[in-house]
Amino acid sequence: MLGYVCKYTPVELLEAMGAEPVRIQPAVTSFNHADALMHPNVCSYAKAVLEVMAEGGYEGIVLTSCCDAIRRLEDVLKEQYPEKFIYMLDVPRKVNDFSIGIYRKRILELADAYSAFSGKVYSREALIEILERERESARINAAGEKPDKLRVGIIGARCPETVKTLVEDNGGKVVFDISCTGTRREEALAPYLGSISRESTDPEGILSSALLSQLPCLRMADARGRSDFIAGFGNEIDGIIYHTVKFCDVYSFEYMQMKKDSQVPILKIETDLTPQCSGQIKTRVEAFMESLAAMRGTTEKKIAGKAAESEMFYVMGIDSGSTSTNAVIMDKDKKIVASAVIRTGAKSADSAVRAAKQVLDESGISENDIAMTVSTGYGREAITAAGKSVTEISCHAKGARYFNKDVHTILDIGGQDSKAIRLDDAGEVADFVMNDKCAAGTGRFLEAMARTLEVDISELGPISFESSKEVSISSMCTVFAESEVISLIAQNTEKADIARGVHRSIAGKSVSLMKRVGLVPGFMMTGGVARNKGVVKEIEEALGAKIYITEDPDIVGAVGAALSALEQVEK
């Protein structure tokens, strides 16, 4: 097997030499090798490829000069595996006759190098045959289906298979995937292989031209073809998932531009290609698919009448968060009968059972009277008693509108993540973003700071109002912010001033998050951190607007889950 990582690799030429080129799509669980050989702040894909090479099985790898990280990967691989075929192919960024000529020469140099390494010989006839086959197979596949499913396009850097599976598991169909090596080879090249025939005297030139002419990736000097490609789909797509890899320099720019221009909803996700980040991705993709379905009108809309007239019944919503588990019982008239908030223990399922028991006890309603339970939150899928699970994004949206019809922008700060959600006038999720894999700006951050200041988390808000001096906590990282706070304590800075600095730091992060969905007036804050009046004050100051907060901000997600349950029953 000879690995490759980039769509500009002349795979067909390698096949024509009898090589077995394999696209490397890593799914690694750790970066043990890579972190020792490369700096931690390097693109996760490059590090994952290094892990794959360390596992063995590949005779070598053909890399391209696609980005700095891959160039550095070459340096490390060459050093580590001198016996393997590690080849760097320099791909021009411009497409013109001159660069096609240069590229033709370079791919033939690759063939020579591989020949010297493996003893295999390049056959021009074989290349012609492969290119012809590729062109024909694209024709056969062109007769595509038009699914009734939600049509999703994937763009960006190196999208892992798990994302596509998530789309498909949630009622979607991936219409196109133009992330790095996502496009099927024959579809990418076939349009440029028209002239290939048995009589072709320069199939290498045709291949070089086809490779450079395909839909450009963002490293190319002229990448306008990308927006044309997407525009070509018009209304044929329901949504776009924009995938980037941590420490990838290339792709977020396009997202920024698309976000401004696109009529189609876009979800941006960033992964490090490990299964560990699949939990967060799962919530985001599911919530996105829920919102696309809602826009298309395929959600289970409530049917008034039948159920409303029947006898009284109840539903339960359970929000299983990382810090607290919240349960709400609601009657058929959407009245909250009882609610419970308990601290999440080591097992989220056990905490859910306890929360459910507590809310049942409080309401005096028996479990048998609960017509439907919907779970939401981080641990939603571990709750076996729930008939259905819905993401917290959709639940917070529903819950927010339940309390206040004018809400358009929600900031939810939970224990381990924070999110900003924008609602359209109908109350459906129009856009949302979540913080990255970092505790900065979350409840955990506040807990850590309270611990360092040796005050109870509930006191942090009140004491900050006594602040008389501005202190700034500048670090973006919880761990470093903690050491900053320790230095401030060492300098005898007042606790009140530090607490206010901590709140300002959270407010700054939060407002940045909210800006990313657009600051549409009608602000609401949900989640446990909304209880901290110091944080709320700072966010209000940063926004220059009032924020609506319910009496019990912890239960908004659970209320949303109960409303979802009600919709299910009424259906």
Binding site: A46, A69, R72, D75, Y255, M256, S475, F480, S512, R516
Partner: protein, 424 residues
């Protein structure tokens, strides 16, 4: 009182409500800094550095005042060609550093992140894009960048082009030198020349370019001679002054003033006493704003940065008779282009030549060029027998560069240098 921070706070108040006014204040601030450097700067600063510092500031301030004769570039752009059309190069790295000098980087970086730019991207670029988005930068006549060393350039400049519709040219630099790659790059430079003729309505003068390249050769001669002397003589400096050398070795090279600055430095240094200081060789970016490092290295009595690879990324004499090809060759053979091994070998050679007491590499947040290759670099430096310190931080965003941690590492390195240790 920190004047720059106080002034920055005044600018900050205008950023949201009146970005054009904020932009004017930034330019005014640069002029004031130019005045301060010329008339009120620290008496310890040698005249040569003072001149270099003054020019580095006023060149940018003047260019921002006159955007029609200014081009946004990156540090590796062919500035000699831009000069030919009366265009001053203002690099996005320099702009980002100046904004950080006014303590405004947090605002601009947050601004670009809230637009969707990845938080892991290099903060020079985030700072620059945020400032462009905020509307504080006057729109220049053109933008010119290269693919050399840094991926983010292509993306940042494309993005800027999309916002402002500035005529933009990107020069694609192949990794390896060959006749074809030389023709490929020369061809692009000629295309750039045509574009600039159109924009500026001025005729290209090959003769002037020859003169500029000849001047460039002479400038480098003085600089190299200065560096040789610098390894023996004292010549008080600060991290900021070392950083400013980049204006003379890159952004303004080919003009008269860098030649004058290095000539002054080369002559002046001879009057300074022989030095018993420890000397550091600095790899890649200089975090001039890092307090812990300033404390030790600005006018450091015991330890000084006396040399760095960035100023020496291409020192070959250029063929002034064929200036376009010479500039193309300079870009392809820049040590930052192509495989890291070549760069690491070149740097190891510089270390052998200048024989410093220690080597420091600062891995700037989001920079694959430094972070990606630092492990190999360390191996190469080990072969030279010199101790090396690797620092992780952010040269632009103060919030992302924990001073305490850097201080501890740096102090430990100093202790090690004192004992003649090998590595850190």
């Amino acid at each position: 009182m920190n004047i720059a921070r106080t002034y920055g706070n005044i600018v900050r108040k205008k950023l949201e409500s009146d970005p054009v006014k904020a932009g004017k204040l930034i330019r005014k601030g640069l002029h004031l800094e130019g005045f301060r450097v010329k008339h009120l700067s620290d008496k310890r600063i040698p005249a040569g550095y003072k001149y270099l510092n003054y020019k580095g500031i006023t060149v940018v301030a003047d260019a921002l005042d006159d955007p029609e004769h200014c081009a946004w570039t990156n540090i590796f752009a062919p500035v000699e060609i831009l000069q030919n059309f009366g265009l001053t190069s203002v690099s996005m790295e320099a702009l980002a550093s100046y904004l950080s000098g006014f303590y405004l980087e947090d605002y601009f970086i947050d601004r670009s992140e809230s637009c969707g730019i990845a938080s892991t991207l290099c903060s020079y670029h985030k700072n620059f894009i945020g400032a462009a988005e905020a509307g504080v930068l006057p729109v220049p006549a053109a933008a010119v960048t290269t693919t050399l060393a840094c991926d983010a350039n292509v993306q940042s400049f494309r993005y800027i082009n999309d916002i402002f519709n500035i005529p933009t040219y990107m020069i694609d630099i192949p990794h390896e030198y060959s006749e074809e790659s030389l023709s490929y790059v020369s061809g692009q430079l000629r295309e750039l020349i045509c574009m600039l003729e159109d924009i500026t309505r001025r005729k290209f003068s090959e003769e002037r370019l020859r003169e500029a390249v000849a001047r460039e050769n002479e400038t480098k001669k003085y600089f190299l001679s200065f560096l040789d002397k610098r390894q023996r003589h004292e010549y008080p400096n600060t991290l900021t002054l070392v950083l400013f050398q980049l204006f003379a070795t890159h952004l303004s090279i080919g003009e008269e003033w860098p030649l004058e600055a290095f000539r002054m430095m080369d002559e002046e240094i001879e009057a300074y006493p022989e030095s018993g200081q420890k000397r550091l060789f600095w790899i890649h970016l200089l975090p001039y704003a890092q307090m812990a490092l300033r404390e030790y290295l600005n006018f450091g009595g015991d330890i000084n940065v006396t040399c760095g690879d960035f100023d020496l990324d291409y020192i070959e004499e250029m063929d002034a008779d064929h200036p376009v090809d010479a500039i193309a060759r300079k870009m392809i053979l820049n040590i930052y282009n192509g495989g890291f091994e070549r760069k690491a070998d070149a740097i190891a050679d510089m270390i052998r030549k200048y024989d410093p007491d220690g080597v420091v590499e600062f891995c700037h947040w989001g920079c694959s060029q430094s972070s990606g290759g630092v492990m190999l670099m360390k191996e190469k430096v080990r072969e030279t027998g010199k101790p090396m310190l690797i620092l992780d931080g952010d040269a632009v965003d103060r919030r992302n560069s924990p001073d305490g941690q850097i201080k501890t590492r740096f102090e430990a390195f100093l202790e090690l240098l004192g004992k003649g240790g090998e590595t850190a």
